[in-house]
């Protein structure tokens, strides 16, 4: 995309040097793996109360906050240091799977389903308040990654299954850095294509992204295998215009054209509307709505009520809103394409808004609860007789004074919305150079509508109950 020599993180003195080292990823994974062990241990054996257990604090406050903030300023940092890939990589030293991932599943539908399921379970069983279930979730994650990648070659778990990975892939569309070739002329003369195939014991890209034809961050775990595999040292982590890949309609290696991929569009839709739904789950109106729905449906159980909400917010509402915007844009701009095609393209414009919403929400928890791990670590230390840590400081919590949080959240949402408006304009200019404003108008309206909803959500009083009903 941008031709000028881009800033290359791999050429920086400290970080660049570290990442160019072959074992950098393992070194980043080991501490996260140890943290995962602590999470499982505390989750299964420690206090069942969420604020007194690291299994609820570390994943739901620190991990989520760190992930979105890193995506905003850098790229897919979590996958880069993913602890789930550590035992998997180890097993791969002995087991070389020969089976290929079934062709019918080489799309995002499984991952989309799991993503929805994850959001549902999170809400239904209130994972955020249960250390025990969170610990089991982590165990299940390790097991699934290990199992699938022991049977199938490549990295099918990351590419086709992992819901966390999909979250990162979508968010990283707006990240300011990407793993990319430094010079296409070097690639043109290359005959070995080691970045994809691997070289000796060094893996090539297990997500089937071929560097010279790779476009953008989608499906890239930032594992840097390609960097180490390239014999010409031609792959870097380069700066770029964030979100600019959202209006790129050409073919991408390992993905194809995103504007033709209904599965990726569905993933993006869930990502965007899920951001609103996830925030809705923790404000007072959700309890009023649920109680009302339970009354109307005449049920006592939360599952059907929640399921109905999910169907409405993640399926019917987007179908209606995206359909209406696409239909209007097509009419106003005299576009030749069918309405569905228009929707399949413009839905990507909502990504920056979605990222802004997730970031605002998770940054909030990250900043309000940052220090809560301190008293928990103190009390674990006391359990082991380390009295010098002192009495647990249960009064510790926020990293920033609460007055800073509102402007920060509004800023992140606003920034996301602004990004979405820009993407809408760029897409529309490509569609109808003369009548672009007409094409853009319905989509801009949709972005503004979602932004208003987001602002409304942020202004609601919070409420925290395990069971939504009762």
């Amino acid at each position: 995309m941008n031709k000028a020599v881009a800033f290359d993180l791999l050429k920086t003195p400290l970080l660049g040097r570290f990442w160019r080292w072959r074992h950098a990823r393992t070194v980043m994974q080991v501490p996260l793996f140890l943290v995962a062990l602590v999470i499982v241990w505390d989750g299964l054996t420690g206090s069942p109360l969420a604020p007194r257990n690291l299994a609820t604090i570390l994943p739901w406050l620190h991990y989520r906050g760190f992930v979105v903030l890193a995506l905003l300023v850098f790229g897919n940092a979590f996958c880069m240091a993913c602890p789930f890939m550590l035992p998997r990589n180890l097993v791969r030293r002995f087991v070389q799977p020969t089976r290929h991932w079934p062709a019918r599943l080489r799309n995002k539908w499984v991952a989309v389903t799991l993503f929805v399921l994850f959001l549902f379970i999170y809400e239904r069983y209130d994972l955020w308040s249960t250390p025990w279930w969170t610990a089991w979730l982590v165990v299940a994650y390790f097991a699934a990654a290990l199992l699938l990648d022991a049977v199938f070659d490549g990295a099918p778990f990351c590419k086709y299954v992992c819901p966390l990975g999909q979250f990162n892939f979508v968010s990283s569309l707006v990240s300011p850095f990407e793993v990319r070739v430094r010079s296409h002329t070097v690639c043109a003369d290359c005959t070995t294509h080691d970045c994809l195939r691997g070289r000796g014991t060094q893996r090539g890209c297990e997500l089937w992204l071929f560097q010279p034809r790779k476009v953008g961050n989608f499906d890239c775990t930032f594992c840097l295998d390609c960097v180490h595999a390239c014999p010409h040292d031609n792959v870097g982590i380069l700066a770029r215009v964030p979100a600019a890949e959202l209006w790129f309609g050409g073919a991408r290696s390992g993905i194809g054209r995103i504007f033709r991929r209904a599965d990726i569009a569905a993933l993006v839709t869930i990502f965007v509307f899920g951001a609103l739904l996830n925030a809705f789950g923790m404000v007072s109106p959700v309890y009023v709505l649920e109680a009302w729905l339970a009354d109307v449906l005449n049920v006592q159980n939360e599952t059907p009520v929640l399921a109905l909400m999910f169907v409405v917010v993640l399926l019917l509402e987007p179908l209606f809103l995206l359909g209406a915007a696409a239909w209007l844009a097509r009419r106003l701009g005299n576009l030749a394409e069918p309405t569905v095609r228009v929707a399949l393209r413009y839905v990507y414009a909502l990504v920056p808004f979605g990222v802004g919403m997730w970031a605002a929400h998770y940054a909030f928890h990250f900043l309000t609860g940052f220090w809560t791990f301190v008293p928990v670590v103190q009390s674990i230390a006391l359990e082991f007789g380390l009295t010098w840590v002192g009495r647990p400081r249960w009064d510790l919590a926020a990293l920033l004074p609460p007055v800073w949080l509102d402007p920060l959240e509004w800023g992140l949402i606003g920034l996301g919305a602004f990004g979405s408006l820009l993407v809408v304009a760029e897409l529309a200019r490509r569609d109808a150079p003369r009548r672009w404003l007409w094409v853009a108008l319905p989509w801009m309206g949709l972005v503004l509508l979602l932004t208003l909803v987001a602002f409304w959500l942020m202004g609601q009083p919070m409420e925290m109950r395990g069971t939504l009903l009762g």
């Binding site: 793996f33 109360l49 969420a50 002995f94 009083p461 925290m464």
Partner: protein
Amino acid sequence: MPKRMFLAILFLLGLTVACARRENSASVLANLSIMPGTVGTNDVRVQLSHVDNTPVVGAQVKVIGNMNHAGMEPSIASLTETAPGVYEGVIELTMPGEWFAIVEVTLESGETVELELPLPEVKRGE
């Protein structure tokens, strides 16, 4: 080397579940009540007694209200003794939902005791 590392990881995973945790038995019994139990300012009253049922007098008592969800701002109240073994104060509960209290007691002897007590569900204010 890799094989050993693999075994080490398995071992660590095993340890994870095997490690039992120590339960501390409290030397002080507490009875906590909170009024009216809605969002906003609440009166909190803690009655402390030793295991032999005698009141705990002259202690310093702090109540920390926390939500059953990680990372919410805790509410803190320092209580004053209004009758032998009875400690009272006010606490600000910031949002509706499930709360619990951590009661930090510093006995006259300087010994510290930490108790964890459930709170009734906090309702929305009027």
